[in-house]
């Protein structure tokens, strides 16, 4: 039997993620769209020596996308573009059945129920796409 997707912890994070927490001023901004479902995430960053000092977002998307964007607000603090790339791989791998992410991205273990719903993996990953695009606008993209 598939796990319950809309667990209280995910829904609580989703409700928090429904708010517009964009930053003004910001050092970087990027918007990522999921062409399959119409989810849209805008990520704002304040940077300190190329590392994320603060992250805000506006997410028009499903509960999973909103919860993931809100989780990213804390998880992304202090990372640079190389760490963002590694984190994206770690979360993608976790959703595909791999080990839980470590470090600040350990919080994404919250999305374990999503593993059984491959069509929804993109919803969790979209905010991280937007984060990487925002970091790329500052010229600090990881290879």
């Amino acid at each position: 039997m598939k796990p319950e997707l809309y667990q209280d912890a995910i829904m609580a994070r989703a409700r928090a993620g429904a708010a517009d927490s964009r930053l003004d001023p910001h050092d970087a901004r990027a918007t990522a769209d999921n062409p399959l479902c119409g989810d849209r995430v805008t990520i704002d960053l304040r940077l300190d020596a190329g590392r994320v000092a603060a992250l805000g977002h506006r997410t028009r998307g499903c509960a999973l996308c909103q919860a993931a964007a809100e989780t990213l607000r804390e998880a992304a603090r202090g990372i640079d573009s190389a760490a963002a790339a590694a984190a994206q791989d770690a979360v993608r791998g976790f959703l595909a059945g791999g080990a839980e992410p470590t470090g600040s991205f350990a919080a994404f273990a919250l999305f374990q129920p999503v593993r059984d719903y491959p069509s929804r993996h993109g919803c969790v990953l979209l905010p991280i796409d937007a984060l990487r695009q925002a970091l790329a606008t500052t010229g600090t993209m990881a290879p």
Binding site: Y6, L36, C37, G38, A63, Y117
Partner: protein
């Protein structure tokens, strides 16, 4: 006479095998009746060969089956078989016209599309316009998801060569006032293409009576196999159009220096066609032609009304599309305040209700309506009251859990 839905439904093996499934995604892909599955299997086990080019008995049998399917589709549309082109689907059919019909157009000529249309009837025209310097204009959509035909005067001009619009919206179910489109088109000397992918499954058509020039439909929405569709085009127009794809079958004579082309429809069927799939599509339309369509239409609309009435009792549920049952298909889009369509669709799935959540390949319409997406329940001839009621119960649960 009321429809015996149970008997109809029993002819669909997937539905018969899973009584707990409430399949409300027929606008995406319809289910396939046993008669179609049997026709495909029979073809592949008794007549599988390539068509048109061999002289052995299997080749003759395959050719007869393929051309027989063409004739069956022609009957469903009340047109000549010579005007039926088998394609890979409705998308391929529209791309064919977008490529080949526009070869005769000049920079500055216009094609009119619409804000209501599926990407398959938008993007090919954008590609053609960019390639050929054409002007692309769009009929806007109304707030209730119909074509705003009062805007026709503003979007048409003397250089408009083609109007390409949906016969019925895959999002709102609104059926286009084709007569009004045709009158406007003829007033400026323009042709009309209809995307019939949604309308065709809801009963046989009389394309000549519509007065249009091109019609596209897909097999997988017409209770047939995937990978096959049809372009109907007026004979004189097809005869004047250059090929879309080149290869075997579509030629008259090939030399290294030059190639001459076959007459339509062969000219537009390059390579080995989807033979078994076409046979399946032929079996599907044969089966459809034997059904009681007035009863089916009444049944489908009654179910649509049941669903629309039920939405009114669900907190935060809003219909997206025309409010009444006039000029519409049983394709019902809705939103739930505070809940994303994907989440609603996921909760419905847990209850065995298959709907579609998202933008439905209609992003311009979603932009117009300022929506990320909708939840879409699309009914077909095998849908029943249990499907609708389960959908409504699921929506109520989604409203409780997500909002």
């Amino acid at each position: 006479m009321s429809l015996d839905v149970a008997t109809l439904r029993a002819q669909f093996p997937l539905l018969a095998a899973d009584p707990g499934l409430h399949y409300l995604d027929s606008a995406a892909s319809a289910q396939v009746p046993r008669v179609v599955l049997d026709a495909v299997a029979r073809h592949e086990t008794t007549a599988r060969a390539n068509v048109h080019r061999g002289v052995h008995r299997l080749a003759e049998a395959a050719t007869a089956a393929y051309e027989g399917a063409r004739a069956r589709v022609a009957r469903y549309l009340n047109v000549a078989a010579s005007e039926i082109v088998f394609t890979g689907g409705a998308t391929a059919a529209i791309n064919l016209v977008a490529h080949s019909f526009t070869q005769a157009l000049s920079p500055g000529d216009a094609v009119v599309v619409s804000e209501l249309d599926h990407h398959s009837n938008l993007v090919p025209w954008q590609i053609a316009a960019e390639r050929s310097g054409l002007v692309l204009r769009a009929i806007p959509a109304t707030a209730d998801g119909r074509l705003d035909l009062d805007a026709l005067d503003r979007v048409l001009d003397a250089r408009t060569k083609l109007i390409a619009v949906t016969h019925a919206s895959n999002v709102t179910g609104a059926v286009t006032d084709v007569a009004r489109i045709v009158v406007a088109a003829r007033s400026v000397g323009a042709r009309v293409l209809l995307d019939g992918a949604q309308r065709a499954p809801h009963g046989p058509l009389d394309l000549p009576a519509l007065g249009i020039d091109f019609y596209a439909l897909s097999g997988h929405k017409l209770f047939g196999p995937n990978g096959v569709g049809v372009l109907w085009g007026r004979g004189d127009l097809l005869a004047a159009m250059p090929p879309f794809m080149g290869g075997g079958e579509m030629i008259r004579r090939v030399t290294l220096a030059k190639t001459t082309y076959a007459d339509p429809p062969a000219r537009f069927e390059a390579g080995t066609p989807p033979i078994a799939q076409a046979v399946g599509m032929g079996a599907a339309v044969d089966w459809l032609l034997g059904l009681d369509w007035p009863a089916i239409a009444a049944h489908e609309l009654a179910l649509a009304g049941r669903l629309m009435d039920g939405l009114a009792a669900i907190r935060g549920a809003r219909l997206v599309g025309p409010a009444g049952l006039q000029a519409r298909l049983p394709v019902i889009s809705m939103t739930l305040d505070g809940a994303h369509p994907h989440d609603v669709a996921q909760i419905l799935d847990a209850r065995g209700v298959a709907v579609r959540g998202g933008h439905h390949c209609a992003q311009p319409l979603m932009d117009r309506l300022d929506l990320a997406g909708t939840i879409r329940a699309s009914l077909a001839l095998y849908s029943d009251a249990g499907d609708v009621d389960s959908c409504l119960e699921g929506l109520a649960e989604a409203a409780r859990r997500l909002t």
